[in-house]
């Protein structure tokens, strides 16, 4: 067998595989310097790798906790974020403002009517809303109550 084939057998043997011709391969290794080097260095590497038990350092855990822990990241990933355009948000705020203004006018109008009924003094009884270019304009028509 050539050195290449021998080393392939040795490689599988190092991995714990059941391979044929192991005896033949090892008898070759005793007499071949290159194959000896291959076996020696591969085994040395395996041994060092097995001893090299790297673990996530404790310092890292603290750093993660300070930044953001994994469960926090997961929770954040689960949160739904609905983007609202700034123009839409401004329009909604404007509409709410306008609505509250109109509501105020309405309440005032009602209050004045009730007051007029009580005191029997002339008050503004009617209001009319005119919309100009999409903007509601409030026009108040003063009207005296008819004397009976």
């Amino acid at each position: 067998m050539r050195c290449e084939e021998i080393q392939e057998i040795i490689s599988s043997f190092i991995d714990g595989e059941i391979v044929e011709n192991v005896d033949e391969a090892f008898s070759h290794v005793f007499s071949c310097r290159d194959c000896q080097d291959f076996l020696k260095i591969s085994l040395k590497f395996k041994t060092e790798a097995m001893k090299d038990k790297i673990e996530i350092p404790e310092i890292k855990k603290i750093e993660i906790a300070r930044k953001e822990t994994l469960p926090e990241k997961i929770k954040r990933s689960l949160k739904m974020e609905i983007p609202i355009p700034a123009s839409l948000l401004s329009a909604v705020i404007f509409m709410l403002f306008l609505l509250s203004f109109l509501l105020g006018i309405f309440v005032y109008d009602r209050a004045m009517t009730i007051e007029a009924m009580k005191t029997q003094t002339p008050v503004y009884t009617k209001t009319r809303t005119i919309i100009v270019y999409g903007i509601p304009q409030i026009t108040i028509y003063p009207e005296t109550q008819k004397q009976k």
């Binding site: 599988s12 991995d15 291959f38 260095i41 590497f45 790297i54 469960p71 997961i74 990933s77």
Partner: protein, 180 residues
């Protein structure tokens, strides 16, 4: 302890604490792999965190019969390779050959076997490094390695042999016959 499949089922059923079990089980293995692949502690940690986050996000799309360890290592491997590609720190063996005389003089200063082997691991190239780390550090089976690398078991066997051959070649080139 529950098997990976059982833990996955528990996570799918909304048991978030089961995810901690997966994290505890694989965090060190993945960190070991990433750290040895990229030699950067901070990035290795970030990759491990990202891998678990991605796993959680895609937990429902994981097939019940697939190997969880292979899946995690596959995600970590892709991230490590992306990092290496971005950093352009890839050193190929041609460069070693060009600088061989200088390297030999310099590397004789390193006495520790472990340091020497780590140095060789850095120089061996990504393709061989990843398979050696998966096998020697993480102890993955041929089947799992084949799944991580999207290849077949005979190809894994052959690649491991070639990686060891390259390892021996570089080691002998750098350190000669010393400490045999």
């Amino acid at each position: 302890m529950d098997s990976d499949r059982e833990i996955l089922e528990r996570i799918k059923n909304g048991e978030i604490s089961a995810f901690e079990e997966i994290y505890e089980k694989y965090k060190n293995q993945l960190y070991r792999f990433c750290f040895r692949m990229i030699s950067d502690k901070e990035t290795a940690l970030d990759i491990v965190q990202d891998v678990f986050l991605k796993l959680y996000e895609n937990i429902n799309s994981i097939e019940p019969n697939s190997s969880l360890s292979a899946l995690l290592f596959k995600m970590a491997r892709n991230k490590c390779l992306n990092f290496i590609r971005d950093k352009k720190e890839k050193i190929d063996t041609e460069q070693i050959e060009i600088n061989s005389n200088f390297e030999i003089e310099k590397e004789f200063e390193i006495k520790e076997t472990k340091e020497r082997l780590m140095k060789v691991l850095d120089l061996i190239g990504d393709e061989y490094r990843e398979i050696l780390i998966l096998r020697e550090w993480n102890g993955l089976s041929y089947a799992d390695i084949a799944e991580v690398l999207n290849t077949t078991i005979p190809a894994v066997k052959s690649k491991l042999f070639k990686a060891r051959k390259k390892l021996t070649e570089i080691y002998k080139k750098l350190y000669g016959d010393e400490e045999k």
